[in-house]
Amino acid sequence: MTLTSPPGRAEKVWLLLVALTLAGAWLAETGQPGWPLTLVVAALIAVKGRLVIDRYMGITRAHPRIRRILHGFVTLVPLLVIFSHGWGNLLQRLTTLH
């Protein structure tokens, strides 16, 4: 949280994170392999990651280098999730020893 967080913001962020987690739990029980599940999971990782980084850690006011690295991390991983689903065969070829 930033130094000047308005009252109740931490509680709202926590509630949102819990709601998104329960949505993930529902997906864990009902989700079927495919693009919809992959895209939703990628979005959940990005949104929850940004919420923790920006709101819990208060990184929005931190040094730009710290901010860029953390934001880059929770952007890169969802992109890798999408890449591994859509281009799994390419990844397999690239990582096969001949």
């Binding site: 949280m1 130094l3 967080s5 931490a10 509680e11 962020v13 926590w14 994170l17 819990v18 987690t21 329960l22 993930g24 739990a25 997906l27 864990a28 029980e29 989700g31 079927q32 392999p33 599940l37 992959t38 999971v41 959940l44 990782i45 929850k48 990651g49 923790v52 980084i53 709101r55 819990y56 850690m57 208060g58 990184i59 006011r61 931190a62 040094h63 730009p64 710290i66 690295i69 953390l70 991390f73 929770v74 890169l76 991983v77 890798l80 999730v81 890449f83 591994s84 799994g88 065969n89 990844l91 397999q92 990582t95 096969t96």
Partner: protein, 196 residues
């Protein structure tokens, strides 16, 4: 000539939450887990069928419980920082202890989850999905254990009155590390319990 030009604006110095040392540690952990995530993606690319069915056998309730424990523990650390900034030291101590107790729930749930897994034949040799699952989640547990030790340390120092509204960088450093383990779990949870 440019002698009359305005002097360059002073560079904007933005704070480093906690201290520089903790950020070296956090970035090392992020690099380590990025490599571990690559292990996951490569194994999944080579064994898509095992990764499509693997999550079905795991107890997703354990993953959800760990997520909720870590998120709520992280919330307590947010409140701990808010209260120390107002110099409310007793409340700060209470929030840190709450964060610690909730965080201790993680290894507790993990213990029962692994016991349940083994009872259902899910050990490290049960298949490539479960090998990667144990490799990454136990690695995360190790990092969480370090975070818990950090929380013990800052709880003791908070009780001793070391931190104040003027100086709480140690408490903030522990909070930053604790939140970073949270971010990593938010990625691991869908990898092993949701994605197929």
């Amino acid at each position: 000539m440019g002698l009359s030009a305005a002097p360059p604006a002073p560079s904007v110095v933005e704070p480093v939450p906690g201290n520089r040392g903790i950020w070296v540690g956090i970035f090392c952990v992020l690099v380590e887990f990025l490599l571990l995530f690559c292990v996951y993606f490569i194994a999944k690319a080579h064994h898509p069928a095992a990764f499509a069915t693997g999550p079905d056998k795991l107890a997703s309730s354990a993953g959800v419980a760990i997520t909720l424990l870590l998120l709520t523990s992280g919330y307590c650390m947010v409140k701990a920082l808010e209260t120390i900034r107002r110099d409310e030291r007793r409340r700060t101590f209470a929030w840190v202890v709450a964060a610690l107790l909730l965080g201790l729930g993680y290894p507790g749930v993990k213990f029962f989850e692994i016991r349940w897994n083994v009872a259902h034949g899910i050990d490290g040799a049960a298949g490539i999905f479960y090998t990667v699952y144990y490799y990454l989640t136990l690695n995360h547990l190790v990092h969480v254990s370090w975070g818990l030790l950090g929380l013990c340390w800052v709880a003791a120092r908070t009780a001793l009155g070391v931190y104040s509204a003027r100086d709480y960088s140690g408490l903030e450093a522990a909070a930053m590390y604790w939140h970073s383990t949270d971010v990593l779990w938010l990625i691991l949870f869908p990898f092993f319990y949701v994605l197929r």
